[in-house]
């Protein structure tokens, strides 16, 4: 699946998008965050306060317990500040 990062999540991780294949034990958005956080210091820094991070699956906002099965694109970003 494709992951996308925005704003300071993107800056901390150091890239805007990547394609990953998480293990089957990673079932939800929060499990994906925990798994990513274990990959490197940069991910751990980006996700250090997981409650602040917002997620979207295939362009729709989801909660942290949302299942990731079947997702084509998952995005992580801080709370929105547009308008």
């Amino acid at each position: 699946m494709k992951l996308k990062y925005f704003a300071w999540v993107r800056e901390r991780i150091g890239m805007a998008e990547e394609t990953i294949e998480p293990p089957g034990s990673v079932r939800t958005v929060e499990e994906l965050i925990a798994w990513l956080s274990g990959r490197s210091e940069a991910y751990a820094y980006a996700f250090e306060k997981p409650k602040v991070i917002r997620a979207a699956i295939d362009h729709t906002h989801v909660k942290s317990d949302a299942a990731i099965a079947g997702a084509r694109e998952i995005a992580f970003f801080p709370p929105m500040t547009g308008g």
């Binding site: 996308k4 925005f6 704003a7 300071w8 979207a56 362009h59 729709t60 906002h61 995005a75 970003f77 801080p78 709370p79 929105m80 500040t81 547009g82 308008g83």
Partner: protein
């Protein structure tokens, strides 16, 4: 998740270029005689965001989702108020104080629907559309933090 708009002309654009409010209003009302009220909201880059003196603002967005998310809220506005048309233009890029950032236009037979729908759309753009602002000031650059008052403004539209 996206249902088609059920009424009126809907325009959603995310662009770097500035917008021309008069032209957008004309586009919404031209050769129609059923519109009695047009409300426009323009959001402008301010120099004095909270305390620091802002020299520039950069708007980043999530292409694809931003349009989808705005469309969902426009569809909801159309389902809640009798609207003849909605135009939303959100700019992205780097802005100086005084420059336009966002335009929301609503047209209806009566003013109450046009006012409420414009406020609803702005409240949701602020809290739900995937855009992020980064500020530049004399003390450096930093991402704007979301405000509790914006969440509260959006929450008042929640239907129980």
């Amino acid at each position: 998740m996206t249902s088609p708009a059920t009424a009126g002309a809907v325009t959603i654009r995310i662009q770097e270029d500035d917008f021309d409010i008069a032209r957008e209003i004309a586009g919404l009302t031209r050769s129609r005689t059923d519109i009695g009220a047009v409300v426009s909201f323009s959001g402008i880059c301010r120099a004095d965001e909270d305390s620091a003196k802002i020299s520039a603002l950069t708007l980043e967005h999530y292409p694809g989702m931003a349009e989808d998310e705005i469309k969902r809220h426009v569809d909801e506005a159309i389902s809640r108020w009798p609207l003849n048309g909605v135009t939303i233009i959100h700019r992205v890029g780097r802005f100086m104080p005084g420059q336009n950032i966002v335009l929301v236009l609503t047209a209806s037979q009566h003013r109450k629907a046009a006012f409420e729908a414009a406020e609803f759309l702005m409240d949701y753009l602020k809290t739900s559309a995937p855009f992020w602002k980064k500020e530049e000031s004399a003390t450096g650059t930093g991402w704007v933090e979301a405000r509790a008052r914006d969440d509260e403004a959006a929450a008042r539209w929640t239907r129980s």
